[in-house]
Point group: C2
Chain length 357, copies 2
């Protein structure tokens, strides 16, 4: 198949540090190429792919402080996709709502993965979409999208081989996420304190530029005073290697998410290393985590602390097994490839029956 993958432009594909969506886009793109598809990746110029790369900006938006009009790069990219729409059998958009209103004006069928929570204004836009097959990344997200028709639910996948299994942990809890109020870093700290366990925090802090909010103030005012460098440690932003090492050593990953997270890629990443996850029951966590097997689902900071004390009872090899069985990028690529084919077959059938009439 001739496939276009449209990535967000804020972070390169694959990401240098944070960027769950961009990691998934990279894994999917590379696997589709490996299977013999002709894949064009529309992404920032500092992205890398074995397919064909089309860019409208030299660097990802968050890596280029000189940009005054970052959305010009995005608009330009969307224009390119439309111009070349006829060159593709399938156009797969990962760039949120940006491409959606234009899908009805091109002949090529569009698949759109919903990578983010769906806010009211985005929901309205999606409901007006035509020629778009929406993919949810969890059952909970599909439910949150009601009454939007979801073509298929496909869990995100990771390249399991890149996360070596660690049979033994090294006696600390881990919080690994963007440092922001709705990601639950304060809750993780309070839970670790209650459990009297060491907590390592790793994650990026979004600064003012180009963002709706500045998380640096939050970090300075709310997080930093709680970091003592002994029990509560901030390890900065982690690149891929550092992330995997931190995960492998952790007794458990704390995931006290406060928003309706549609997936949470750190959960299967943690599993692959053998590390169970203790999460708030919110968004997709109850689908990803099996209670008492790969982690614990809790409703409060106190319950999270209690679970942290019990987490050594869990079998780390079970976590690894679940990652391999449910969250591999090969399974994800299978499901997307099947969806693409189903859409093309449906279209062929519809065209044939129209011709036969």
């Amino acid at each position: 198949m001739r496939i276009a993958q449209i990535a967000p432009l804020w972070v390169p594909v694959p990401p240098r540090t944070h960027g769950g969506t961009e990691l998934v886009v990279s894994l999917l793109t590379e696997e589709l190429v490996r299977r013999g598809n002709e894949v064009t990746l529309f992404a920032s110029g500092d992205s890398q792919t074995s397919g064909k790369l089309v860019s409208t900006c030299a660097r990802a938006i968050w890596r280029d402080p000189t940009l005054k009009d970052p959305h010009a790069c995005i608009m330009s990219l969307l224009g390119r996709v439309i111009t070349h729409a006829n060159d593709f059998d399938i156009i797969h958009s990962h760039t949120g709502f940006y491409f959606t209103p234009f899908a009805q004006h091109i002949p090529t069928p569009v698949v759109q993965t919903l990578h983010r929570p769906i806010y009211p204004e985005t929901h309205r836009l999606y409901q007006e979409a035509k020629n778009v097959s929406f993919v949810a990344i969890s059952q909970d997200q599909a439910k949150s999208a009601t009454p939007l028709p979801i073509a298929k639910m496909i869990y995100n996948g990771i390249d399991i081989a890149k996360y070596p299994f660690a049979p033994e942990s090294r006696g600390y809890l881990l919080f690994l996420s963007r440092i922001a109020p709705d990601k639950g870093v304060i809750e993780a700290i309070e839970a670790a304190r209650l459990a009297k366990k060491k907590l390592i925090i790793a994650g990026n802090i979004i600064r003012r530029k180009f963002t709706g909010d500045d998380d640096y103030d939050f970090f300075v005012r709310r997080v930093k005073p709680r970091i003592d460098g002994e029990q509560i440690i901030y390890a900065g932003e982690a690149d891929f290697g550092k992330k995997v090492e931190l995960m492998r050593g952790a007794d458990a990953l704390l995931f006290p998410i406060r928003r309706r997270e549609p997936f949470g890629l750190v959960v299967p990443e943690s599993f692959a290393c053998g590390t169970p996850v203790i999460a708030f029951t919110r968004g997709s966590t109850a689908e990803l985590i099996e209670e008492g097997k790969t982690g614990f689902l809790v409703g409060s900071i106190r319950a999270m602390a209690q679970a942290a004390e019990r987490v050594k009872e869990l079998d780390r090899s079970e976590c690894r097994k679940v990652a391999e069985e449910r969250f591999s990028h090969l399974r994800m690529a299978d499901e997307y490839e099947t969806l693409y084919r189903e859409i093309l077959d449906q279209r062929l059938t519809a065209n044939n029956s129209r011709r036969a009439q």
Copy 2:
């Protein structure tokens, strides 16, 4: 003619307070309707027009703190324009680069007024445009756009009748603009201090949300300490009535602009009230201001202070006359209507000669 006007969605049309572009869009739209055109205004839902209003958000983006994905409203609006493109003879975009890449995919000719300074990433996008006739709002802006082909230069216009002429001023200088470093508020304060004259400052301060930069820090750190409430006064944000009253009473408007401003609507607004303008020679100011007649062009804070001492020598009725002759919205509407007709005539001729072959 059946005309679509696409406004930016950040501020309603017409604006409640600041918003030069939205004021110009409103004046043009209403005048085109008055002349018997069928005009559809694509703008925020809190906009007002005697034409037809099409909206994708109830309130302008800067007036709606609940929006998480403001660009969803913009994308949705662009989608609507494309869907209805065939209903129009001309589509006139005022929304910067947002619509430009899509113009080549619709049959209707697109006019785009360049309301803002042109940054490198926007310049690249414009140079790839097809089916767009660009309008510059000053000769200097047309020059800055090189090698972009400019179809026509059309100065912005104002409704002169809304600015009653004030033959006598009330002994103060005025700075009226967004409070931001590149607008020159610090320079205005220093010039007023040197001239030992009273300065009234009026303008909005952009807060963090949805903007590339937060000007509130700048206000608190750099501007506020210079305000004494006696010689240097901050009067807050001015609505239309307050703006006109402040302009009418001023000996001169100070316009120490630090960026390459493509127009500067306050300049003709000030003229209409009879108030001369003392400006830095930058961007379009040398085109708008006639040295020693409607104001002074200066190169430094010291020269601005000296000009402020001489400004009472100027004849305020000359300023009014220039506003009437050069900057009326009727002249602006004439020029746009002529451009629309020229484009349609060219297209007709091209189509006919194609048919004749």
